[in-house]
Amino acid sequence: MNATPLWASETFWKKTAIWVTAVSFLLLIVLTFDSMAKVSAGSTTRVPAYSVINKKIDYRFNASLNRYTPVVEGDAPLFGKILSDEEAEKLVTLGKKTFQAKNCINCHTVLGNGAYYAPDLTKSWLDPNWVDETNREILMLAFLQDPPGNARSYGTGRRMPDLGITEDEARGLIAFLKWTAAIDTNGFPHNFKTLYAQENP
C-alpha cells in the first residue's frame, strides 16, 4: 500500500496552516503597535498635531528620501486666529465628522481611497486651483456652502451637489483638509506641485 509521506499528509498541513497564520498575525500585531505609535497626531512628523492648522504648510523635495516631504514653517493661522491645541482638535474633529456625515468619500478620495468621481482631497488645501493663499479660505468657505453655485467642473459638467453644509461645518472641513495636507504620505500623490511652488517655481 502506498503510504502518504508526512509532508503531504493532512496533519502536516493542518499544523503548517496554524503556524503560518499565527506567526503572520503576531507579526502584524507587533507592526501595528509600532505604526500606531508613529502615526498618532503629533507623535512624529508623519502625522502632525492638529495645531498644525496654525502654521504654513508646504512641500519641498527631500533628496535623501527621493520625494517631496511636508515642511511646516511660520505662522499662518486659519481664518486669522491662532487656536490652542484643544480648539484645533475640536475644529478638525468637527471637520472629520462632517466629512463622514456628508458621505464625501463616495465621490472624492482622500489618501487615494474612495470613489473616483471627484478629485483627491489629500492635498486640496495646497492645490493651485485656489490661485493664491490670500483668497483661499474665502473661496473654500463659499464653495462648500454653495457648491453648485461655485462649481469647478473644468469642462466635465460634474458639479458637487448642495449638501447643506453650514458655515461652522465648512470651517471644520477646511481645518480637517489643512491638517490632512500636512500628513507625510511617502510622496503620494506623485509630483504634486503646491500652490506656493506654482507661485515661485
Binding site: T16, A17, F99, R158, G172, F192
Partner: protein, 492 residues
C-alpha cells in the same frame, strides 16, 4: 419528495433557511447592477439625477449591495451544507430564522435611509443613525451592532451544530474563520479624527475580510462543493484546504501592507507590502498545477453542469482579477501613479466577480437542483441549457468588458493626471476629459448593460431550470466516512 418542482420538502432545515438567504442575495445582486448602471450613466451625463440620487448615493448602494449579497450568499451556503456536514439538525434553526428576518429588515431600513435621507449634520447622530461615511462600511452604527448580533447567532448555529454532531477539517477551518470574520468587523466600529489611524483600521476590515477571511470562507464552501459536485475524496479536499489556508493567510495577512503605502504610515510598509505583493501571485499560479493534475488524472463526471461551469469561471476570474490585474499595479513604484484611479475600479470589478460572485452563482445552481428534488442537471438539459450558457456568457463578457474599459481609463489617468500633470485638480480634470477616458466610460456603460442582460437571463434560468424535469441527478461514487454517506443518502 417531489421532482421537477420547487418544493421545500426536498430540503433539510438548514437548506430551507439557506434558500431564503439566496433569494435576498439575488434581489441585492439586482440592486447592485441597477445602482451601478445609474452611477455609470452619471459619468457620461453628470446632470442625470443631480441632487436627487447623486453619484455618491448610487456608488455607495452599488458597492454595499454587492458586499451584502456576497455575505448572504456565503451564509446561505454554510447553512446549506451545515446539516449534511455535521450529521445533525441545525441547533438553533428558529433563532437563525429570526436572525435572517432581523438582518433583512435592517438591510431594508438602511437602504431606505440611504435613498431618502442620504446624509446628515456633521455630528455623532448622523454616524449612529444615517450614514457612517466610511467607504464600504457606510452602514450606520446601530446597523453595525445588529450585523454583529446576527453574525453571532450564525456563529452559534455553526459552532453549536458541529459540536453536537461531528467536526471535520472543513468545519474546523470554517468555524475559526468565522471568529476572525466577526472579530475583524469590530475593528471598523469606532470613530477617530486621525484619518491615518482611521484608514489603518479600516483596511483591517476591508483587506482582511476580502483578501483573507472571505477567501478562506469560500475555500470551505468550495471544498464542500467539490466533494458534492465531483465526488472528490474528503481527505484530499481537506489537505488542500489546509494548504490554501497556509498560503492565503501567509501571503494575505501581511499583504495588508500594500494598502499602507500612502496613508501616512511608516516607510517600512513600502518594503513589507511590496515584498508580499511580489510573492502573492505565486501560490495562485502554482495551483494551476493542481487544477491540471486533477482534471487530467481524474475523468470527472459532474452532477450539475451550470454549477461546474461557474466554478470554472471562478478559476479564470480569480486568476486574472486577483492575480494578473492585482499584480500589474501593486508594487509601490507603479502604485504611486495608479492608486486612487479607475485602475483600482478595474481590478475590483474583475476580482470580486471572479473570486466571489461566480462561486455564489455556482452555489445557487446547486441549491435549485436540490430544491427541485435533486433533478438532472448534467448534459442534455431541456432547451439545450441555452439560458444558463447565455447568461454565463453575457455576465462574463459584461464584467470583462467593464474591466478592460476601466483599465484603459485608469491607465490614461495614471499617465495624464499623475505623471504628466502632477496630481493637481486641473490634472485630475484634464484626465477626466481625455478621449480615452470618456470613451472608456461609454464602453463601461455598454458592458454594464450587457452584464444586466446576463443577470436577467440568470434569474430567469434559476427560476425555471429543472422545472418539469423527471430524470434524477447523476449519482456520483463517493469515498467518505459512513456517517456522511448516510447523511447524503438520506437527503438525496
Amino acid at each position: 419528495m417531489s421532482v421537477g418542482v420547487l418544493d421545500s420538502r426536498n430540503l433539510n432545515g438548514g437548506q430551507k433557511l439557506a434558500v431564503k438567504y439566496f433569494t435576498v442575495a439575488m434581489v441585492l445582486f439586482v440592486a447592485q447592477i441597477l445602482f451601478g448602471l445609474l452611477a455609470a450613466v452619471q459619468f457620461i451625463a453628470p446632470g442625470f439625477l443631480f441632487e436627487t440620487l447623486d453619484f455618491s448615493v448610487n456608488r455607495m448602494l452599488h458597492i454595499n449591495a454587492m458586499v451584502v449579497w456576497m455575505l448572504y450568499g456565503f451564509i446561505g451556503a454554510v447553512y446549506w451544507f451545515l446539516e449534511e456536514e455535521s450529521g445533525v439538525e441545525v441547533v438553533g434553526l428558529k433563532l437563525g430564522e429570526i436572525a435572517f428576518w432581523v438582518l433583512t429588515a435592517a438591510v431594508g431600513i438602511v437602504v431606505l435611509v440611504y435613498l431618502f435621507l442620504q446624509i446628515g449634520a456633521g455630528d455623532d447622530t448622523t454616524r449612529w443613525l444615517i450614514n457612517e461615511g466610511r467607504e464600504y462600511i457606510e452602514a450606520p452604527r446601530w446597523a453595525d451592532i445588529g450585523i454583529v448580533a446576527v453574525m453571532l447567532v450564525f456563529f452559534y448555529n455553526v459552532a453549536g451544530t458541529f459540536s453536537k454532531g461531528r467536526w471535520s477539517g472543513v468545519s474546523g477551518v470554517l468555524t475559526l474563520d468565522l471568529v476572525a470574520l466577526v472579530g475583524l468587523y469590530l475593528a471598523g466600529m469606532f470613530y477617530t479624527t486621525n484619518v491615518t489611524v482611521d484608514y489603518y483600521w479600516w483596511w483591517w476590515v476591508v483587506h482582511l475580510w476580502v483578501e483573507a477571511t472571505w477567501e478562506v470562507l469560500v475555500g470551505c464552501i468550495m471544498a464542500w462543493s467539490l466533494m458534492k459536485l465531483l465526488g472528490v475524496r474528503r481527505k484530499i479536499v481537506q489537505t488542500w484546504l489546509y494548504i490554501e489556508v497556509a498560503l492565503m493567510f501567509g501571503s494575505g495577512i501581511l499583504g495588508l501592507g500594500h494598502h499602507y503605502f500612502w496613508i501616512g504610515t511608516p516607510e517600512y510598509w513600502l518594503s513589507i507590502g511590496g515584498f508580499f505583493s511580489a510573492l502573492e501571485p505565486i501560490p495562485l499560479v502554482a495551483m494551476v498545477v493542481h487544477s491540471i493534475y486533477d482534471a487530467g488524472v481524474h475523468k470527472f463526471k459532474s452532477t450539475n453542469h451550470p454549477a461546474l461551469g461557474w466554478v470554472i469561471a471562478h478559476t479564470f476570474g480569480n486568476f486574472f482579477g486577483a492575480g494578473v490585474w492585482g499584480f500589474m499595479h501593486t508594487l509601490p513604484q507603479i502604485n504611486l501613479y495608479t492608486h486612487g484611479t479607475q485602475w483600482t475600479a478595474s481590478h475590483g470589478h474583475l476580482s470580486f466577480f471572479g473570486a466571489y460572485a461566480t462561486i455564489n452563482i455556482a452555489f445557487f445552481y446547486l441549491a435549485v437542483q436540490q430544491w427541485r428534488g435533486n433533478v438532472w442537471m448534467g448534459a442534455n438539459l431541456a432547451d439545450n441549457g441555452w439560458k444558463w450558457k447565455w447568461s454565463m456568457g453575457l455576465l462574463n463578457l459584461g464584467v470583462v468588458g467593464m474591466t478592460v474599459a476601466l483599465l484603459i481609463a485608469g491607465y490614461e489617468q495614471s499617465f495624464i493626471e499623475r505623471a504628466v500633470e502632477g496630481s493637481t485638480w486641473s490634472g485630475y480634470f484634464a484626465a477626466q476629459t481625455h478621449p480615452w477616458f470618456t470613451e472608456a466610460m461609454f464602453w463601461r456603460l455598454i458592458m454594464g448593460i450587457v452584464t444586466a442582460a446576463g443577470l436577467a437571463l440568470l434569474i430567469w434560468d434559476l427560476a425555471t431550470i429543472g422545472a418539469g424535469e423527471t430524470r434524477p441527478a447523476l449519482v456520483i461514487e463517493r469515498h467518505e466516512e459512513p456517517g456522511v454517506k448516510a447523511a447524503v443518502v438520506q437527503t438525496a
